[in-house]
C-alpha cells in the first residue's frame, strides 16, 4: 500500500465521526521506483492532507518532507522528487493501520490492508 492510498482512507466503523487519518505501525516497508509525472503531483497536492501525509511518511521511515507545504514549492525539483518518492514509491508491506477513534487495528499483509468490518461494526 502506497501513501497515496493511505491519505485517501478513513475508518468507517459505525459510530466513528472522524476516522482519518489512520495511524501506521510499519513492520516492513519496501521501495519501488516509478516514473515521476509532475502534472499528476500538482493535482494530487491539492487533494493531499499534508499533515497526515508527513506523519505517515515518518511512520514509514522517511523524514525528508517539510512540516508544512504550499503550492509555490511545486516549482522546486527537489520538493517534487521528495513528494513523489513519499507518495508513490514507499510501500507498506506488513504492519497495522489503527483507527484514531476506536483503536481498531486493521492488519496489512503482503501490502494489502484488510479493512473488512465485523458484523457489529457495520
Amino acid at each position: 500500500m502506497r501513501l497515496i492510498t493511505h491519505n485517501m482512507l478513513s475508518s468507517n466503523i459505525k459510530g466513528v465521526v472522524n476516522g482519518f487519518p489512520l495511524r501506521i505501525e510499519a513492520e516492513k516497508v519496501v521501495e519501488k521506483t516509478v516514473e515521476m509525472n509532475g502534472e499528476f503531483l500538482k493535482k494530487m497536492f491539492e487533494k493531499i492532507d499534508w499533515k497526515a501525509f508527513v506523519d505517515a511518511s515518518r511512520a514509514m521511515g522517511y523524514t525528508e518532507l517539510p512540516e508544512e507545504a504550499d503550492s509555490s514549492m511545486l516549482d522546486s525539483d527537489e520538493f517534487l522528487n521528495r513528494f513523489h518518492h513519499a507518495l508513490l514509491e514507499l510501500h507498506l508491506e506488513e504492519g497495522v493501520l489503527v483507527c484514531p477513534e476506536t483503536g481498531r487495528r486493521f492488519p496489512v499483509s503482503k501490502g494489502i490492508p484488510n479493512m473488512l468490518l465485523h458484523e457489529d461494526e457495520v
Partner: protein, 224 residues
Amino acid sequence: MGLISKVVVPPENFYDDVEARKYTSFSHIVQIQRALELLALPDDHVPKLLLDISCGSRFSGKTLSENGHHWIEIGISASMLNVAMEREVEVDLLLGDMGLGIRPRVIDGAISISAVQWLCNADNSSHNPRLRLKAFFTSLYKCLSNGARAVFQVYPENIDQCELILNASMHVGFVGSIVRRKEFLVLTCGQHSINVSISKGKNEDGDSYSDKDNEDEENQTFFK
C-alpha cells in the same frame, strides 16, 4: 461470464481460492477496457486517481496499470489475499466493505466489473439489499470529485434488481444511463445535464466482441 451471473451466494462464499483464479480471464480484460472507455476521461495525458471495486482476482491490476493511471482497488473477497499474482506498482489493493471508507471528493473516476449485484443478495434476515446499496452509493458519491463518472458492468438477475440498483444510485444524487445490451451502467456525479453520447460509448467497429446487431443497441436514460 454467464456462469457467475447465475450464482446467488455471497461473494465471500463463492470466491474461494480456486474460483478467484478462474475469474482471471481474458473476457474480464475486455470488460475493463470497455468500462474505461465509458469513463470518458479527459485526453490530457495526466494520470488520474481511479477506483476499482472488485470481486475478482488480482489480474485486474495489470490491465488497470497499463492505462497509465493510479488505482485504488477495493476487493470484497478475502480470497484475493491468496491470489499470488505480481502486483503492479500503480495499483493499490485493499479489502473493504461497500462502505468504502474513502475521503470526500478525491477520486477522479470509478469502475466496477461484476461486483455490484452482490449487494442485491439477501442471504439472511440481517441483510437488507436496499440499505446495502444505499450505503454503497452514498459513500461512492461522496468520494468522487465533481463531474466524475462511475461505470458498472452488471449482470442483473431481473428487471427488479436493475431498478433497485438504479433507484439507489439516483436517490443519492447520481444521474444514470444504462447501455442495456452491454450491461453497463454509467453514473455521473454532481452534474445536472445529461450527455446523451455517454449511452452510445465509443464506436466499436471491428471489435470482435461486439454484438452483430450493435446498431439496434437499446439505450435508456433515467431522469431524477
